[in-house]
Amino acid sequence: MKVKVRYFALVAEITGCSQETLELPAGATAGGALAAAAARHGRLAAPGFTPLLAVNRRHAPQEQPLSEGDEVAIFPPVSGG
């Protein structure tokens, strides 16, 4: 299935793009999308850096299952305010 993956802040600097479409196996999770992104952009997997995930504009755990067309976001710990 295809999902749209968006990158923000330092993660967007690492990937060099703000979004891309990834092809994932059926049954993939949000963590699987992250792994697929890290396979394309190696520095996303740097030790000690754990990006956060959102699915369809809600914070999501790694285990959250994905569906065709979902919007997955990968970003650093938030620092607003």
Partner: protein
């Protein structure tokens, strides 16, 4: 969106007084506000300005979820939750919470809870530009997480230098 919960992601300067006036009804005896503003230093280094980046669609939805959660837990009237993005100079307001309520304790407790939730959940990131000529740096996590971690943000630095 819940009626009476004003949620905005903005790029223009935040007018705290206008928002406080917007939330207050005649049945409210109390208006509590919190403004976060850009400090001129961070961890001993002089800050020139900040860039705030957001996941804008999610940030607006998250503000609305935070507002709905708070309204369900606190006996308050109207509230405003506003965050600014873009380039902010020292002294400019980055985030504003305004809560009106019949009584003071509810207004104050809801205001304090709102800024905690915003810092914890809102998909916004800030990048610091220093006045000492050093390279700009992303801030990771809320202030107290950085302070608790001892050396500032080592994993992130490794990444940016790697």
């Amino acid at each position: 969106m819940e009626p009476g919960i004003i949620c905005r992601m903005v790029t223009a300067p935040i007018d705290a007084a206008a928002l406080a006036a917007e939330v207050a009804r005649n049945s409210d005896g109390a208006v509590a506000t919190f403004a976060g503003q850009v400090r001129d230093h961070h961890q001993g280094r002089p800050v020139d300005h900040l860039e705030y980046h957001a996941y804008p669609e999610m940030a607006l939805e998250e503000l609305r979820r935070i507002g709905a959660d708070l309204a369900a837990r606190h006996a308050v009237g109207r509230m405003a939750l506003v965050h600014r993005t873009g380039t902010l100079a020292v002294g400019e307001i980055s985030v504003l919470v305004a809560v009106a309520a019949p009584h003071r304790r509810e207004a104050l407790a809801c205001c304090a809870a709102a800024i905690e939730e915003i810092k914890r959940r809102l998909p916004v990131w800030k990048k610091e530009f220093f006045a000492d000529g050093g390279a700009p740096e992303w801030v990771f996590g809320p202030d107290e997480a950085c302070a608790a971690a001892g050396a500032p943000h080592p994993p992130a630095r490794e990444i940016t230098r790697g």
